[in-house]
Amino acid sequence: MAEMSEVEALLRSALVPVEPSEALSDRLQTTLSEITDLAVDELADWELSTMRDPRNWGPTVAAVVAGGAAATGLVVLSARRQRKRNRSGDPLAALEHGLREVSSDLRTRLGR
């Protein structure tokens, strides 16, 4: 292996890995938990309640089946934007709002 030059040694000392704050780590963990919980619980509940109205069947089913993880990710992104707009709001309400935004967005994209 080639010998490390002085500059490389300096680079190694200067560009050290940076630890993220615990707050960031906690926030991301929470977001990931929201995603997974949403997928197995809220998403299923919301899907069932939406399917009671036949007018929603087409786009909703298409979104959930075809979208999979990506659709859920969109929901979370949307919910996060909503929470930023209303910090004091109920997180579940924000997630629900996110689901509705995504459904609406998908309908628009599908042109239905």
Partner: protein, 180 residues
Amino acid sequence: MGDDADKRRLDAEFTDLYRAHLRDVYSYSYYRVGNHHDAEDLTEQTFLQAYRHFERAQRESDGRPLRPWLIRIAHNLAANYYRDRSRRPQTQLEDAAVVSAPHDTEDLVEGRQELKDVLAGVQALPDDRREALIMRFALGMDNREIARALDRSEGATKVLIHRAIKQLEQGLKEEETSNG
């Protein structure tokens, strides 16, 4: 039921990816944007984007590590960050090495100045050279990984890093000469 099981498996694998590479993504973001606040934003957005495309990335990776893919997402988001807000990296990087180094002797104070000069030199490099050095030294990525993250060949990446180091070395020498 199969979909649920697949979703759970994907989520578990994504969580593993997140745990393994949170520090990498954060370090890369930090050295790109130069402050902790924006680095946190960039890291968060990177993982949310990654989650959206995780299934496909995993399918297309053929078992190769996904770290270069993650860093590529951060790289693209950082480019948008500057484009959208007409910002450039902060010139005074609050570098982690300097902040965390003990400073109880004069030698160490001199050493800290030397590290600051190196960081300033890195910040002054062209974007692709700077990024390659961040990936190599802050993240410990090898040429193959950096090549994948920057969408270049391994040969081109090796040349890029070599030139980056040479340019930095030259800049530091000139700085030293001008300071007497």
